[in-house]
């Protein structure tokens, strides 16, 4: 079973006199239970539409989805879910405590549990000292933290965060990152929709990349980042023949003076490549492996997509 599972999930927006807009197309998503899952894509890729489909705010045009095996659209399944939308506005005349109490009541938490959970989440997001402050007095960062607090009230098994750090300064981002990792330690599945790829790289186990409504990549982040691997090889005695030798073990993607950039498909090809070069008389000054960042891969995946 998966925390989130979709099969052919599709959403087409139709309106009179306009061309239909395919926001999400045949999405087959699998989010492992207990993982921190990064959901990536350029603006307009259909990420927020997908979230709205999962939460039952939008009805799929076709396809199905399940959260922990329960069909999406069933309001009861939201008892397992905590959600922080990207755009929200709180009832700012309430205090932080009243605001959380309102949401805890909506979640159906009994009074004794309610009080205890409010204390816990306020402490979790570091707002216990501001519990009686009006929400309108809060900075954007504090509002974001309060939003996260309301998403955690019901001890959710799945937390969906839509751009949770968009309003935060570097310290706030660091705090949210730690918070996500703490949730992971507690076995909570975190579905993170974020533009900040460095943040996703630091926190996520798996990612999916959406482009123009279609899933273009889905997999574990460590596997994704380990392959392919690029090597920058500098020679003391550069020769055109080294390029041909290197091409037998990988793809030469760049030649720069006395250096070659070779992309190998597997890590264990590196010793063979180096041995072949040395055996053919090459004197190596340096061999620097260059790992791809998520940003590199993201750009590559999006660029490789047919327009």
């Amino acid at each position: 079973m998966w925390a989130i599972e979709t099969d052919g999930l599709t959403k087409i927006f139709r309106s009179l006199g306009r061309k239909p807009i395919v926001a999400v197309q045949d999405l087959n998503l699998r989010v492992p239970i207990g993982s921190v899952f990064g959901f990536l894509g350029p603006n307009g890729a259909g990420k927020t539409t997908t979230l709205n489909l999962l939460l039952g705010n939008l009805r799929p045009t076709r396809g199905t989805g399940r959260i922990f095996g329960y069909p999406i659209g069933n309001p009861e399944v939201r008892r397992l879910v905590g959600y922080l939308p990207e755009k929200f506005q709180f009832h700012d005349f309430l205090t932080a405590e009243e605001f959380l109490d309102f949401h805890a009541r909506l979640l159906g938490l009994p009074p004794s549990v309610r009080r205890q959970r409010i204390d816990t989440v306020l402490e979790f997001v570091g707002l216990q000292g501001r519990r009686r402050s009006k929400v309108r007095e809060f900075s954007r960062g504090m509002l974001q933290r309060l939003g996260i607090a309301q998403a955690l009230l019901n001890e959710p098994k799945l937390v969906i965060l839509d751009e949770p750090t968009s309003a935060l300064d570097p310290l706030g981002r660091w705090e949210v990152r730690n918070l996500i990792l703490r949730l992971k330690e507690q076995g909570v599945t975190v579905f993170l929709n974020s533009h900040l790829l460095s943040e996703v790289e630091m926190t996520c186990d798996a990612v999916a990349i959406l482009n123009k409504g279609r899933l273009v990549f889905q997999g574990r982040l460590d596997e994704l980042l380990s392959e392919p691997l690029e090597l920058d090889i500098r020679f003391q005695n550069p020769s055109p023949s080294w390029r041909d030798i290197a091409a037998q073990w990988g793809t030469v993607v760049g030649v720069n003076g006395d250096a070659l950039t070779v992309r190998v498909r597997r890590e264990d090809a590196i010793p063979d490549l180096i041995a072949a070069l040395v055996n053919n008389g090459a004197r190596l000054m340096s061999v620097v492996p260059k790992r791809f960042s998520l940003e590199d891969l993201f750009v590559q995946v999006i660029r490789d997509e047919p327009h």
Partner: protein, 295 residues
């Protein structure tokens, strides 16, 4: 090796009360809090009460043929026109409070977090309806107390007609709350408010068209008046209130211009109004349940 499937995640058990009733009450509570801190409420309450007090003062000082009106007549006028004011102001206040209840709140983002909780859409609509109903009823009771005070001042006795008519008058803002909630599922507040004002005009025009149609013998206008009465049945409530306010014995002219007989209110009128309120509410629930929300 057999792969071990993770255990199914059970849904938390929640009592029937917590599942079906609590969300409605929670939304109603927030609606009350929100409404009572708005200028539309505070201003409307004070303005309405002030106008009723002013009315009592004016009628106490009106002279006809150089003499003050008899106290009983003064009291009847205070009651009658006080109730007219409550009808007008309660409709305006209901519109002001409820016109942005759904679409505008979604637009602003204040409902975004609510709709993603384990709550049914109809619970949000019913909760808001209930909240507005409580606020407007309390407001109406304050106004009725001011009218009673004005009448008591003139009559020197308690005038039960204020409360009998006032009780029926409580349906007046509820009509507008249902209408506004229904419209606000899809429309922004400004359109809802405008349409609501048009409906208010249609309701008020029923009596005017009937009076003119009767006096000028214009059957088509009488038919239009009937249609207006079905589209917005405020005239039906107004007639009930006039009869129940017990002022016609002393000032029969308050039932309408000479030569026009006011139709006698029937139980059917009240049932129609109740059905109108209920159908409006149910339609709002259904439409909001079907509405897609892009957060």
């Amino acid at each position: 090796m057999n792969r071990i499937e993770p255990l199914a995640v059970p849904l938390p058990s929640v009592s029937l009360w917590a599942r079906w009733v609590t969300p409605v009450l929670v939304i109603a509570r927030l609606t009350i809090k929100e409404a009572t801190r708005r200028w539309a409420f505070v201003g409307g309450l004070l303005l309405g009460a002030g106008m009723m007090a002013l009315l009592a003062y004016v009628f106490a000082n009106v002279k006809r043929h150089g003499e003050f009106l008899p106290a009983e007549v003064q009291g009847s006028l205070v009651v009658h026109f006080g109730l007219v004011i409550t009808r007008f102001f309660s409709a305006v206040m209901a519109t002001a409070l409820a016109c942005g209840a759904i679409a505008t709140e979604l637009e602003r983002g204040t409902l975004t977090l609510v709709v993603t909780k384990p709550i049914r859409r109809w619970q949000i609509v019913v909760g808001k309806w209930l909240g507005f109903a409580i606020v407007l009823t309390l407001n109406q009771l304050v106004w009725l107390a001011v009218i009673e005070w004005g009448a008591w001042n003139r009559l020197g006795a308690w005038h039960w007609g204020v409360w009998k008519a006032g009780l029926i008058g409580l349906l007046y803002p509820l009509l507008f709350v249902s209408l506004n909630l229904l419209l606000s599922v899809h429309l922004p507040w400004i359109f809802v408010a405008l349409i609501s004002l048009v409906f208010m005009g249609i309701g008020w025009s029923e009596t005017a068209m009937r009076n003119i149609g009767t006096l000028a013998n214009l059957p088509r206008l009488l038919t239009l008046s009937q249609i207006a009465g079905y589209l917005m049945p405020t005239g039906r409530l107004a007639r009930w209130m006039v009869v129940q306010s017990e002022v016609l014995d002393l000032v029969p002219r308050l039932s309408g211009p000479p030569g026009v007989e006011m139709p006698q209110p029937t139980v059917g009128d009240l049932l129609y109004v109740l059905a109108y309120i209920l159908v409006g509410l149910l339609l709002a629930c259904w439409l909001f349940g079907r509405r897609e929300v892009a957060g």
